[in-house]
Amino acid sequence: MPASLTLAAHDEHLLTRETPIQRRRVRAAWLFLAPMLLCLALVAAWPLLRTFWFSLTDANLADSGGGSFVGLSNYLFHDESNWSGILVDPQWWNAVRNTLHFTVVSVGLEIVLGLLVALLLNIKFTGRSLVRALILIPWAIPTIVSAKIWSWMLNDQFGIINHMMLSVGLIDAPLAWTADADLSMWAVIIVDVWKTVPFVTLLMLAALQMLPSDCYEAARVDGIHPLKVFWRVTLPLLMPALLVAAIFRILDSLRVFDVIYVLTSNSSSTMSMSVYARQHLVEFQDVGYGSAASTLLFLVVAVIAMLYLYLGRRQMEVRS
């Protein structure tokens, strides 16, 4: 067909230049986008703006009037000689500290373990796809369910973890994993790491399989030690994927809610920023104060997300 041949030759022209066809396509594109954009405006943009607004009011869950404007006093308020508001609330700063502690430790462990498991599964062996499917199980289990399963395994009196550690002689007396203030954050981290290592592993595995094989052949021919190859070749080439996985996990960890809420409830030794915000919003019914906490959490996440988008764009520029 001559028509399609010329079309292929002028492909760029037809689909990008200001032709009637292209104009019609652009109009259709916006029409096609409209329902999705409307939906996101209704469930994301508008509620977010309302949350910002609520954080400047004394709105209460019980009365639906919306409260009245109180300026920044939910954040910080000076009354004679007293400072009040979130920014001087030790509970809030405790929640910030807990969230950061949780994020740093769990994301660090997940990246290291995920990378190790991916390296292990990158070796070809019989039954590899079965193993790969089986390690997906923790990822598929709902967070609530895995939190419950682990809180049973970590139970202080009848839990199997204490039983194992006692019988091996690691500990002399059962540990109160979820109740002890020093241990409960570790319990949360153990559950979160267990659940999310599969995800990191998959990303790493996909990245490993895209690496050029000629580098490795050259290294093998030259007889370079595998560890050196890993540090000098594999790790630098994996860096972009590693960063993406880390950012995804960091954003997820900063908003952590489910695991902590189910495992340790509102205990102050594990309370995260999300748990703090929800407690004020729903349990104390203080929509203004809770919204202020949500807004602060949003700002933290937004800064990190922007950093990611900036890095991503620069990476794309470098690639092209």
């Binding site: 399609s4 079309l7 689909l15 990008t16 019609r24 652009v26 259709a28 594109a29 096609f32 986008l33 329902p35 999705m36 954009l37 939906c39 996101l40 469930v43 508008w46 509620p47 977010l48 703006l49 309302r50 949350t51 609520f54 292990l120 796809s129 193993v131 790969r132 089986l134 997906l136 199980i137 923790p138 598929a140 289990i141 709902p142 609530i144 369910v145 895995s146 419950k148 399963i149 049973w152 395994m153 009848f158 998959l202 990303l203 996909a206 993406v244 954003l251 489910d258 189910v262 920023m273 915000a277 929800r278 919003l281 929509v287 809770g290 949500s294 807004t295 949003f298 996440v301 991503g312």
Partner: protein
Amino acid sequence: MSLRQLKKTLLRFGFWCLIGVLLLYAVFPFYYAIVTSLKPSSALFEVSYWIHNPDFSNYATVLHQASFLRAIANSLIVSLCVVTLALFLSVTAAYALGRVKFRGRGTVLMMVLGVSMFPQVAVLSGLFEVIRALGLYNTSWALILSYTIFTLPFTVWVLTTFMGQLPHELEEAAIMDGASPWVTLTRVLLPLLWPALVTTGLLAFIAAWNEFLFALTFTLTDAQRTVPVAIALISGGSPHELPWGLLMAASVLVTVPLVILVLIFQRRIVSGLTAGALKG
């Protein structure tokens, strides 16, 4: 046996040990939940690693609880509706973003990605107001609507990636034949997109099935609860007397379908997850 062979055997042994440890770590907690769920409550408090005499009384009790069955039905309805809604809205959006070049495309993509990074709690109070204003509080519709905030960006993003990978020639032929964009999408591209739709739909289904914060906040009565909330709220006389056997039976019941789905669609899930994360 030569030294070389010995070294090779040792290496192989070490490798399989590592694989064994990995599998144990990944699978044991779920296995232990099954073991616990098959114990009568009298045997619950002695630790055992095997199932000696399977006792199905926990399952019988759970399956006779009307509120638990109701929660499963609610979860199914909510998840299926969310998946349908998200796929429907994102197929057209993905066509626009993946196949058409226009000014503002990059901005829209960035916005979609931005929404997917939202902390859910940041929209909680605003969304609560919207849901109350629409009269949807304590209904499944509240959840269906609110779940689009995390399913829609994801489905749009992944489908845009898949859509962009389809060959240009097909669409050009359709354009030459005078087909409108709508016809091009539904008649030409959609039939090729089925595998991607199944993958993204499955991932969105799992995300909706597992959601907790919105379900906890936007529903109030047992009749409207979803599975994660129902399980989180199972309680005994006191915090130290949780009915663990029942809890584990309920957990296994709601997880087994997911595990089977994941094992069957493993390859597709992997491609969907990595398309969502790496190719962005």
